[in-house]
């Protein structure tokens, strides 16, 4: 669905944010892009909906080069949910907020009403329909922002740092929600540095550092590679840390899942007896 070929990008200030990034994202994938602050993660995903165009190289969305299409047109297919919901909330009611995107994309009135209802239900916001988004709590505002993007049903959803400021319960609900979205066929990309969250989701992981992709593989293969993780300022998940320390006892190295780790340890003990 998305192809990036040798993408270079420099900001007008001269900072070179991307240095030769190439990757392919297929429809229906679930991907986490990780890396230190300033690695280029947000810069990269802004290329997927055309907000930024490469200085060198190409980005193609469903075969069409992003240079040739407007941001609005690309956004219809690629929904980007920004990190801070307060950067987009401005309407008098949650309902109007959700309808905003639908209206921009030219949906007919009856569709707008239907899709707004659907989005409100999906994110559990029905009771806030007539409430001003500014009156809601931080977590609720995040849900409104997400609802407003999902309302127009983009093929791909990109979430920029969705776990910041969330407590464990909220993160768990978010995780289940993302898995559900992906199961319904949506391509989901999350940009995050929350390693434990990624370990729980176990998506394909793309690791970036200083404008380049330094690793790309399944979560269990990337998250136990200490060299690469270190370059990206990422600490491996606690479970992996524990097993890496006990690797000499014959325990598997590439485990990121809690239950799998428990099983492996219990197994080893049984075998030793």
């Amino acid at each position: 669905m998305i192809e990036a070929e040798g993408v270079y990008f420099s900001y007008p200030t001269g900072v070179e944010a991307l240095r030769g990034v190439s990757l392919v994202i297929n429809s229906g994938e679930f991907i986490a892009i990780m890396g230190e602050n300033g690695a280029g993660k947000t810069t990269l995903v802004k290329h997927f909906n055309g907000l930024l165009k490469p200085s060198r190289g190409r980005v193609r969305v469903d075969g069409v080069e992003t240079n040739k299409v407007s941001v609005a047109k690309l956004s219809k297919k690629v929904g980007l949910v920004f990190q801070n919901p307060d950067h987009q909330l401005f309407c008098e009611t949650v309902e109007k907020e959700i309808a905003f995107g639908l209206r921009n994309f030219g949906f007919p009135e009856d569709m707008i009403a239907k899709r707004t209802d659907w989005a409100l239900n999906l994110l559990g916001l029905v009771e806030y329909r007539e409430v001003s988004p500014f009156m809601l709590s931080g977590g609720e505002r995040k849900r409104v922002a997400l609802a407003s993007v999902l309302a127009w049903d983009p093929d791909m959803v990109i979430l920029d740092e969705p776990t910041i400021g969330q407590d464990q319960g909220q993160k768990e609900r978010l995780r289940q929600f993302i898995i559900q979205l992906n199961a319904q066929g949506k391509t989901v990309v999350i940009v995050t540095h929350d390693v434990e969250f990624v370990a729980d989701c176990h998506p394909r992981v793309i690791l970036m550092s200083q404008g380049r992709i330094i690793a790309d593989g399944s979560a269990r293969n990337v998250l136990d590679n200490l060299n690469v993780l270190d370059k990206a300022s990422i600490v491996p998940p606690q479970v992996t840390q524990i097993l890496l320390e006990l690797a000499d006892l014959g325990l598997p190295r590439d485990v990121i899942d809690l239950y799998e780790a428990g099983e492996a340890i219990a197994d080893l003990l049984r075998r030793n007896r």
Binding site: N37, G165, L249
Partner: protein, 289 residues
């Protein structure tokens, strides 16, 4: 600093604290009671909306002076009753570091920012210079002395914020989710700095956090809140081992959850490990038995 406070009186004493924001139907804090002794490192955690952020703001007078509302109950900080002393006075005993790195740096150079509080207190210049140098050193930010805030990373900004508060030489430092916007490596560095201040300087620390896996190893006590009430208040091991902790939905470190899973399988570690290393050591001991 009141010397007559005496040996046994805790540095922070909260009794039956109840508070409602102006115009709110329900109180955000209900009958909160606990104490913090000098030199402790206390983590306050709980699900969003449990009142922990509100509680923080009661310690230095932002509540009730800045926010208004109705407050009842007793709250003594460094021997001073919060209800009877201004925020400016309390600021000399209780320092506070906020969540957003950007919005607590005012000046255009780090050293001027650290001096900000001292200038407000009309500290003489020589003493100010000494304290600024000291604060820079204690937080590992000496090489950032002349930089402007926009030249600093989020982690550096937060360290500068800590230095700015430290320079005022408070007895207590309160930090309200200081690492929310930081990546794990920077967060770790912040907790390291705070832990160092607690251990080496005896600074009493109250840290409000979600990211328990990174911060727990420095704490000697964890308070869990929910719905405006204190639900758990004990050392980290006891808190994480309790059933309630799981039900309250706080971010229990994975190492502790592994301990629980292993227990279900009949593998008993001595106690819930707070760090990955601790867990590995305990597991190794059992395997090699």
């Amino acid at each position: 600093m009141p010397c007559f406070v005496g040996f046994k009186v805790p540095l922070i004493k909260v009794k039956d604290l109840t508070y409602s924001y102006p115009g709110a139907e329900r109180p955000v804090l209900r009958g909160v009671s606990f104490a913090v002794e000098r030199g402790e490192f206390v983590i306050i955690t709980g699900p969003s909306g449990c009142g922990k952020t509100t509680l923080c703001r009661c310690f230095n007078g932002l509540i009730p002076y800045f926010y208004g509302g109705e407050i009842s109950g007793e709250i003594l900080v460094a021997g001073l009753s919060v209800k009877e002393h201004s925020t400016a006075e309390l600021a000399q005993h209780v320092g506070m570091v906020f969540q957003s790195p950007e919005n607590q740096l005012f000046a255009l150079s780090v050293e001027k920012d650290i001096a900000f509080g001292l200038e407000n207190l009309a500290i003489p210049r020589e003493e100010m210079r000494r304290r600024v140098d000291w604060a820079l050193e204690m937080t590992g930010t000496s090489d950032l002395r002349v930089k402007a805030p926009y030249e600093l990373s989020g982690g550096q900004q937060q360290r500068v914020a800590i230095a700015s508060v430290l320079a005022m030489r408070p007895e207590i430092m309160i930090l309200d989710e200081p690492t929310s916007f930081l990546d794990p490596a920077s967060a770790r560095r912040i907790f390291d700095v705070i832990g160092g201040l607690n251990k080496d300087l005896g600074l009493t620390v109250v840290l409000v956090e979600h990211r328990l896996d990174l911060a727990t190893m420095y704490a000697n006590r964890v308070i869990v809140m929910d719905g405006g009430e204190v639900k758990l208040n004990s050392d980290p091991y006891s808190v994480y081992a309790s059933q309630d902790a799981r039900l309250l939905g706080i971010g229990i470190p994975k190492s502790v959850r592994l301990y629980q899973i292993l227990r279900e399988k009949g593998v008993n570690l001595d106690r819930p490990p707070l760090t990955a290393h601790e867990a590995a050591v305990m597991i190794r001991r059992i395997i090699e038995r």
